[in-house]
């Protein structure tokens, strides 16, 4: 009986994993394909990786994406932390419910709508005050910050709400002024959540195609945009190699973020 059940459980699990990861595994395997034809196996080779690193267009897109992602993650951590502090510490202000809802809204809002509304805002702003001038790196960064800071706020909020209020009171009681309490007590204690939030923000920004497509302009082509357009022109095995690298980087980021959050949850539970 148990043998049967574990057999079925095992099969279901295997199907589940296959469903999730077979496409990615296929992609990774074919990135080492020697053949120019993406779907025909022509022996093992790393030539597409070498070619990828000679591809100026992809490399500059990668550099742009990394810069946008780093900037986005940093700004999102600052804004998200401020929002989380407001939500956790100031429990009695008039529009608190509205604010809490609006902080979380980008989590469930379709990207298409986020992208479109950001584009409309930038166009209106440019006509009204002349800033931002045109669309490019700045507008992509701003649009990315709006939705990634929501994720950061959620992560930091959950950490802050576990924080003993007495710690802050004790620090003040021992003579530390409120700003000092924030930098010397609160910030170090929630730092794992900040790092996790930064990594998540970086990854989300690196991944994003939809919003970036709406708000980017000439000369600002992010990596996902390059990949998408090159796939439409006919898949080059270089894209497989690039995708493999992205998967590796993103997976590493997510794993580190998850590990940090897990460790902090375990500490808090003690």
């Amino acid at each position: 009986m148990t043998g049967r059940r574990s057999f079925w459980l095992f099969t279901a699990l295997a199907f589940g994993y296959a469903f999730l990861y077979l496409p990615i595994v296929t992609l990774i395997v074919y990135s080492f394909n020697d053949s120019r034809l993406v779907t025909v196996w022509g022996g093992f080779s790393t030539r597409w990786y070498a070619e990828l690193f000679r591809n100026e267009q992809i490399l500059s897109a990668l550099w742009l994406s990394v810069r946008i992602a780093a900037m986005t993650a940093t700004l999102a951590v600052i804004l998200g932390t401020l929002a989380a502090l407001t939500l956790v510490r100031f429990t009695h202000f008039r529009t608190r419910m509205l604010f809490a809802g609006m902080v979380a809204a980008p989590l469930v809002m379709p990207e298409v709508i986020l992208g479109l509304s950001a584009l409309l805002m930038f166009v209106t702003l440019e006509q009204a005050i002349g800033w931002p001038p045109g669309r490019g790196m700045t507008t992509i960064t701003i649009a990315h910050v709006t939705f990634t800071s929501a994720f950061v706020a959620v992560i930091v909020q959950s950490r802050l709400s576990q924080l003993d209020v007495n710690l802050e009171e004790a620090a003040m009681d021992l003579g530390a002024r409120p700003w000092k309490v924030f930098f010397v007590i609160i910030l170090p204690i929630i730092s794992p959540a900040l790092i996790a939030g930064w990594l998540l923000g970086f990854t989300l920004s690196m991944d994003d195609l939809v919003i970036a497509s709406f708000v980017s302009g000439p000369g600002a082509t992010t990596l996902p945009m390059v990949v998408y357009s090159s796939v439409r022109l006919g898949v080059s095995p270089q894209v497989n190699a690039l995708a493999t690298l992205i998967v590796v980087v993103v997976a590493t980021g997510v794993i580190i973020a998850g590990w940090l959050l897990h460790r902090q949850a375990r500490r808090a539970g003690r």
Partner: protein
Amino acid sequence: MPQQRRDPAILEAWQDPDARPFLEIQNVTKVFEGGTYAVDDVSLRIYKGEFFSLLGASGCGKSTLLRMLAGLERCTQGRILIEGQDITRMPPYERPVNMMFQSYALFPHMSVEQNVAFGLKQERLSGREIRSRVSEMLELVHMSEYARRRPDQLSGGQRQRVALARSLAKHPKLLLLDEPLGALDRKLRERTQFELVNIQERVGTTFIMVTHDQEEAMTMSSRLAVMDAGRILQVGTPSEIYEYPASRFVAGFIGAVNLFEGRVVTAEEDRVVIQSDDTPGEIVMYHAHPLAIGTPVTVALRPEKLRVMDEPPSDDRNWIQGTVREIGYLGDVSIYHVGTDRNRTVQVQVTNRARRTAGPLTWDDSVFLGWDTDAGVVLTA
């Protein structure tokens, strides 16, 4: 049990009308949002070197009062003065007051040493000064060998010591302790009671402790205040509060008590004669202040003040008859619950002088209980 040996000058400070109080709480009131009175018009005078306890059930306002002293809670009304200086509006980081939190609130990302040094660093003392004070404090609480540990590597008792060292490190004029022993197990709690009193004597700081444990308050304090519903019901030394409770609530809150309801029938100069439905004869008690005839009163008698007798007293006063219903053997003493023929249960405590497996009394024994005229108090509130 720790008993404070005290400087007689300190002991009498609160009886001396000319003595300047160290801490004055004047008509302090705290109203929380929604209109609940957490602290209601409390006034207290506390003298230098005292170990003062605020005693009450949870929600009586004692912690709120303590937090107002620390500056963590604003007073809705009233003033707080330390050595004549008004600190009512002073933020917590400027007050010469430190607090030991019930949860200890040790900074988890700092070592024991860094925790103790935190307050000193805020004062911008020199590195050498800080180091010497930290080691002095850790020695005081016997935690020197744990200086480099982090709080999560310590046991509950060790954390408690670190919290105490941290709150004393700045040499505050006043130390506030919020249920300092609440998180410890019973054995450790009793040992720590001693230590805390010893440390207080050595450093000479004025301590104000909040506790819900009446035994703790009794054994550690020079004086204590019993609080209920945001008000102070009585202030006094432990023995004053135990022997001369001012009201039925205080009598019942501190220790066990037997209460007999009655009315004054004869008032003499320093005695009252009381007619009670709870006792077969009249009750005669000492009472310093004259009471009008007919005043409804309550006679409060502690279980250890009752006497077990073989027969009713010849003068038919101060006695009661009943049957032993339950026996609680505590080793040194036994507590008997005696059901009277008037449907009351009376507690009697008898010291077990002789060693024997069964006490002198057993279940369903019929007993007579008596007491002296100065064994209890007559309460009108």
